[in-house]
Amino acid sequence: MSDDFQVTELAMLSGKGGTGKTSVTASLAALAEKPVLADCDVDASNLPLVMSPRVRRREAFSGGLRARIKSGHCVACGKCEELCRFDAIFFDGPGNGRVSRTFRVDEFACEGCGVCAEFCAEDAIELSAADSGEWYVSDTRFGPLVHARLRPGQGNSGKLTSMVREKAMEIARSAGRKLLLIDGPPGVGCPVIASLTGVSLMLAVTEPTPSGEHDLERILALARHFRIPAMVCVNKYDLNPGLTDQIERRACELGATVAGRIPYDPAVTDAQRKCQTVVEHGRGPAAQAIIRLWNNLSRSFSNLQSEPSRPASVR
């Protein structure tokens, strides 16, 4: 690839869950020309449900280490319990020839720091790679999709999220695809940060509710923190048009621009039931609004590319 080949990364985020990130991402995938898709909600991955992916590659993922106490070697001195910062060690393991009870590691609480193993005088603690999940590269009718499944209860979703994004970016570069669409997770924590840092543009999808407004302010603050330009789209805006106006004003005060509004439309759920995107399903009010949204976003991409050195913050 030539040096000037640039992949535009658009991340759909929201703060609050269930605002419509995945439905919007899927429709944008249908409207875009040759996109690559990354489902960065590795914890509850839903984009594949409307993409009917054919998995071409599947890889195991380990998010870190887990400690295990070999009960036969444990002398129940309690050093591990004393040192563990994660409340991950319990005195309810099986007995052995020397002691009637041994210590045990709670695999859900263990963060794999290895301090217990380092200081165990009996060498009774071993560390091994945690089986944290899998990631996949799939083909879809719109282009390649990189997605993942974090095993329930596993930590380090940020690391898996970063992996999904990196793989998607590699594919975009090698296949000469110029747009990477990222379906992000809810919240503002580690997997969101991993989905957001360094993207070209964030689209915050929200809804006209007090929760939607509150969490939008948090995700916009995060975007400012990382100097990422932000656009906002209020979904189901007609549920409360007054609050929608207020949210859009507030978003502008916080340095974002408005990309569009989507009305409540039962076609969104119908499309989901048929494993379709909203814009494939029909040309109802939501589909039309998403097409307008896409046109606004496309214009923003060309602005981003014409000002490559512009600071990301649009304050």
Partner: protein
């Protein structure tokens, strides 16, 4: 009874269920704590509108290197599994955002050059919304790891007949930290393909945590056959159905509790309360008659580690800061 209100998918109505249930329980004369553990996007206060009586900053411990004492041996960087310490020939760098606060570096440092200092991560708020006691955590924007803050929220919740923990969406670390030591998980879902897919994940994690659970269907559109088959197979009873109605969505969008805004919603939550009361562990049945005694009795049945956390929970709320204070610094 400690009840985690959780869901795989976001936006299914956890906060709606948790807040309306908390108010309903209080109306039935029970002592109730609502604890907002969705520290990345806490919303319970928008509906309960509590008066906050105390705000406590929460921090976690991160290493500080004293360059006078550091001999650049690299032991700290070797034990750190999170690449948070870089040991160079002439200096030692700490990346606080990567640190998990395990304390290993300070323990292995042969010259005592590493001490641990608090790094602020968020705030715990304590207050009351009428008869409902209120606790919530808010993670500072830009902080990656909310787990110590969730721990702090849990430990700041006073003892009550009912503790309702409003969990973050998903099935990852924050949800697990919320559900630790809960007696029951109430999983909120919606009858859509996304909702169903994520409910399956939530049921799976509840099973792995050996947590009994029941389901609340929000935006219910009967007959929901597939959803009910899934719940049957997982032995998770559907305890309530909240209908898919515009007036309920409107009340929510106006920041009003459903049980206040709509007269036919209170009976739905009354029935949910009655069915949950039957799910209480046997050793808590007498809790409302003598809270303290019953809580002590149930505390003794679990491990030493649990009972220590139990002490923290009844300690004054300022025990919230710093989060890593827990048992390790005694």
């Amino acid at each position: 009874m400690k009840l985690a209100v959780a869901s795989g998918k976001g936006g299914t109505g956890k906060t709606t269920v948790a807040t309306n249930l908390a108010v309903t329980l209080a109306r039935h004369g029970q002592s109730v704590v609502y604890a907002d553990c969705d520290v990345e996007a806490p919303n319970g206060h928008l509906f309960l509108k509590p008066e906050i009586s105390r705000e406590t900053p929460v921090s976690r411990l991160v290493p500080k290197v004293n360059p006078e004492r550091c001999i650049h041996c690299g032991a700290c960087a070797r034990i750190c599994r999170f690449n948070a310490i870089l040991s160079l020939p002439d200096r030692t760098l700490v990346y606080e955002e990567l640190c998990h606060s395990c304390g290993g570096c300070a323990l292995v440092c042969p010259t005592g050059a590493i001490t641990e200092a608090p790094h602020p991560i968020g705030i715990v708020r304590i207050g009351a919304a009428g008869p409902v006691q209120f606790v919530s955590g808010e993670l500072n924007v830009g902080e990656a790891n909310g787990t110590p803050l969730v721990r702090s929220v849990r430990q700041s919740a006073p003892t009550a007949d009912w503790t309702i923990l409003d969990a973050p969406p998903g099935t990852a670390c924050l949800m697990i930290e919320t559900a630790r030591e809960c007696d029951y998980a109430l999983l909120v879902t919606e009858p859509t393909p996304f909702g169903l897919h994520d409910l399956r994940l939530a049921l799976q994690v509840a099973r792995e945590l050996k947590l009994k659970c029941g389901v609340v269907v929000n935006r219910a559109t009967p007959p929901m056959i597939e959803l009910k088959q899934l719940c049957d197979a997982a032995q998770a009873p559907v305890l309530a159905e909240i209908p898919d109605r515009m007036d309920i969505a409107k009340a929510y969008s106006e920041g009003r509790l459903a049980v206040d805004a709509l007269p036919d919603m209170q009976p739905i939550f009354d029935r949910l309360r009655a069915r949950l009361a039957l799910m209480r562990p046997a050793n808590q049945q007498s809790l409302s008659s003598n809270s303290k005694q019953a809580a002590g009795a149930s505390g003794e049945k679990i491990s030493a580690r649990h009972s220590r956390i139990g002490e923290a929970a009844t300690a004054p709320p300022n025990s919230a800061a710093p989060a890593q204070r827990s048992p390790h610094e005694r």
